[in-house]
Structure formats: structure tokens, C-alpha cells
């Protein structure tokens, strides 16, 4: 393993923990699973640091790892154990009422996004929240750009209907 890649990966993990956790929460809809996803991602990233290409974006690489662990290991186990899926519209809520006044609008947006299917929530997070280009998002998702576009279109279409018929 190249020592420089390992050092780069190790140094880059800490600043990305919060964003990785948020991605894990958007995928799984469960905070405890998000915790586990971040831990497993850190471990896997260190094990595979030799595969990281110096000079590329580490956060994108970490997103790919987290996603792969979710899809290949945790999601199926959650289903197998009967945990099923948390209704993400319930999971993507802000804890506590402490800042309810300032967060009320944010909470509404999170509830709406939480009501979308997993693939659409993920596309919204990567492109509209994390600011990835379509191409970058497609790389994280290991899918064609057209898939990113159609997921975003489906998400916007669903959210657009909510605005047209509020409360429904």
C-alpha cells in the first residue's frame, strides 16, 4: 500500500464524518444504521486506501464506499432481520423542539424529501445538497448519467405535485 495514499485517506476521514453520517441517514432512514455505516466506511477506506487515487476527491470516494456497504451488506441484513425499512419521512426529522421556530421550514423540506423513494432521496442529496455534478453523482451511483437525470426528474415531479396540492 502506498504510504501517501494511506496518510491522505486517514487525514481526510475526520472532516467528512458528518456528511457521511447524513448520507447514511438519507439511505437507511435510521440513525443507528447511519452510525454503523460511517464506522464501516472508515474501516473499509483504511483497508483499501491503496485504491484511492491521490488528487481526486476523497469525499466522493468515501460516498461510494458507504453506498456499497449499505447496498451489499446492511440493507439486505436489515430486511432479513425483519427490520424492514423505516419510513424515511419519519426518520428525516430534526430532533427535539429546541429550534423549532427556525427549523420549521427545514423540517417540512426534509419530510417531503423523506417521503420519496430511496433512489430519489439519494439523487437529491448528492446533486442538490452535496453539489455534485450529474457526472460525479453518476460515478458515486455507478450508473449512467441518464439515471441521475431521471431520478431527479421523478423527485422534482413528485415534490412539484405536493406544492400544487398542499396537504394532500
Amino acid at each position: 500500500m502506498k504510504a501517501s495514499a494511506l496518510q491522505e485517506v486517514k487525514a481526510g476521514l475526520a472532516p467528512n464524518l458528518g456528511r457521511l453520517w447524513r448520507y447514511g441517514l438519507v439511505l437507511s432512514g435510521a440513525r443507528d444504521v447511519a452510525d454503523d455505516l460511517v464506522q464501516a466506511t472508515c474501516l473499509r477506506a483504511i483497508e483499501r486506501a491503496g485504491q484511492f487515487q491521490s488528487g481526486t476527491r476523497l469525499d466522493r470516494w468515501l460516498f461510494s464506499i458507504l453506498r456499497s456497504i449499505w447496498l451489499n451488506e446492511l440493507r439486505s441484513r436489515r430486511v432479513r432481520e425483519g427490520g424492514g425499512f423505516v419510513d424515511a419521512s419519519e426518520a428525516l426529522v430534526i430532533d427535539g423542539g429546541r429550534e423549532i421556530e427556525t427549523n420549521i421550514f427545514a423540517a417540512q423540506v426534509l419530510r417531503e424529501v423523506g417521503g420519496l423513494p430511496e433512489a430519489q432521496r439519494e439523487a437529491v442529496l448528492l446533486v442538490y445538497v452535496e453539489g455534485l455534478s450529474y457526472r460525479e453523482a453518476a460515478e458515486v451511483l455507478a450508473a449512467p448519467i441518464g439515471t441521475v437525470m431521471s431520478r431527479l426528474a421523478a423527485a422534482r415531479s413528485a415534490l412539484g405535485k405536493l406544492r400544487a396540492a398542499p396537504g394532500s
Binding site: K10, A14, V33, D35, L43, A106, A107, Y134, R156
Partner: protein
């Protein structure tokens, strides 16, 4: 072009992802096609201030806990790195096992959700359910990974290391206060167990190998010294002033008791 493709193209237009030619072509159609304009408006209505809304979730990320967890993984990797310098390849499974054991000390997976590595590390038994008892069992389990080589490198500054650990534990730790006769002090590490700071002072005995003196600030009730065997290890533990103390190693029981007596007088 079907409706879904059309929507995808319109979203790419909204997001500024169309190239110049495609954008011009679409704008030309929008200027004459009212249905297409209605579709565009509906998709525009599907926009939200996503980034600021999701900032609220970022603010809620348990960053401190995740950082402690990362520190445990890094510590495990460091332990693996030492033999690697001798030409051995990094063993992912060994790293995972070491990290899993450190996790037990850090207490992240306990009582909530089986750790990710448990399926691959059946040798790591879950600790007993009694909370005050758990941390001693956890230490006894991961102690199995230690060798004299674990402490092969000298720490940069023992004073600094001890001061940092002391701050976590609410104790003034100095090299003199933690020195043990005939044992070489090799350094201090900070762990966390179920939210309580867990300090580990490492020593090497020339004949029996590593000895650990652990202090946890867990506010457990005072308890007199008790000696026991855990696996191959001799253990002496006690509690006072809201802290649990534990000495573990492979020295004969009478020597362990002597060392524990000497430590108890200082804490």
C-alpha cells in the same frame, strides 16, 4: 421522446447541465410549446431550498461519537502497521478484529446493534450485561491482542500524553505517579467506554510481557480491591472517588497484588 425523457431533459435544463446546443434547442421548443412549459413549471415547483434544509441534519450528526469511533479504528490500524514495517502485508481481517475489539471498549455497538464485524469475528464474545462489569471484561478481551511489540516505539512525550489523559479522567497524572517498580512505562491511551473516559497506561514487564493499568471515570460506587483470573490474565480491580481501577497482566498474583497496592495508595 417520451414524457420521462422529456422531464429528465427539463431537469437538466433547470440544473444548468445541458450543453449549449441542447439548451438552445430546448428553449426554442419551450417558446412555442405550452405543454412543455407547463411541465417545466411543475418541475421548477419541485425545487426546494434543499441545502439549507439538509444542513439541519448535518448539525445533528453525532460527530463527537463518530470521531471517537474513528480514533479506535486508527488505533487498531496503528497496531497493525508496526508488524507491516517488517514486511508483512496489512491483514484486513486482523484489522477488523482489532477494531471490533477496540469498539467494544469504546462502547459504540454495545447493547444496541450487533457490530458489523461480529459475523466475521465470532471469537469476540459480547461482554456481560452488568454495566460496571462490562468494561473489565472488554479490557480482558482486547488485552489478548497485545504483545511487547505493541509498545515498540517510544511516545513523543510521556508528560504530555499523561497530562492529556489526566484531563479526561480528572486526575493529575505524572510519570512519577504512575511509575511501577521493575516495569517500564510505555505510554498512555485514551478510550471511551459507554460514554465514560477510559484511560489505559501500558507497561512492559521484562519477563511476563505487557501490563495494563486502566482507569475509567464512570462514577461507580467505591469497591475494595478484588483479585481474579480472566483467561490467562491476573486482574486486580477496585473503585474509589467515582473511578474504577484495574490492573491486568500475566505476572504472578502476588506480584500483581503488590503493584495494585502501590497504585491504590496513589489514587
Amino acid at each position: 421522446m417520451n414524457g420521462d425523457d422529456e422531464d429528465a431533459r427539463l431537469v437538466a435544463y433547470i440544473d444548468g447541465e445541458l450543453d449549449e446546443n441542447a439548451r438552445r434547442a430546448l428553449e426554442a421548443r419551450l417558446s412555442v410549446d405550452t405543454d412543455l412549459r407547463a411541465r417545466l413549471h411543475r418541475l421548477q415547483d419541485g425545487g426546494r431550498p434543499f441545502a439549507p434544509a439538509f444542513q439541519a441534519l448535518l448539525d445533528e450528526a453525532p460527530v463527537q461519537r463518530l470521531q471517537a469511533s474513528l480514533a479506535a479504528i486508527m488505533a487498531a490500524e496503528q497496531r497493525e502497521a508496526a508488524p507491516r514495517r517488517g514486511g508483512l502485508a496489512l491483514s484486513a481481517s486482523r484489522l477488523a478484529a482489532a477494531a471490533a475489539i477496540l469498539m467494544f471498549c469504546a462502547g459504540f455497538a454495545i447493547g444496541r446493534y450487533a457490530p458489523l464485524w461480529s459475523a466475521r469475528s465470532p471469537e469476540i464474545a459480547a461482554p456481560a450485561s452488568d454495566k460496571d462489569e462490562d468494561w473489565r471484561q472488554a479490557v480482558a478481551e482486547y488485552m489478548g491482542l497485545y504483545t511487547s511489540d505493541t509498545f515498540a516505539t517510544e511516545p513523543a512525550s510521556q508528560e504530555k500524553e499523561l497530562a492529556a489523559l489526566g484531563a479526561k479522567l480528572g486526575l493529575a497524572l505524572t510519570p512519577e505517579r504512575v511509575a511501577l517498580a521493575d516495569l517500564q512505562f510505555k505510554g498512555a491511551q485514551i478510550f471511551s467506554f459507554q460514554g465514560a473516559a477510559l484511560g489505559q497506561l501500558g507497561y512492559v514487564d521484562p519477563t511476563s510481557g505487557p501490563v495494563l493499568f486502566c482507569i475509567i471515570r464512570n462514577f461507580e460506587p467505591d469497591a475494595a480491591k478484588t483479585a481474579e483470573k480472566r483467561g490467562d490474565f491476573a486482574v486486580v480491580s477496585w473503585a474509589s472517588t467515582g473511578r474504577g481501577y484495574m490492573l491486568i497482566g500475566k505476572l504472578p498474583p502476588d506480584q500483581m497484588a503488590e503493584l495494585a497496592n502501590s497504585l491504590e495508595k496513589r489514587f
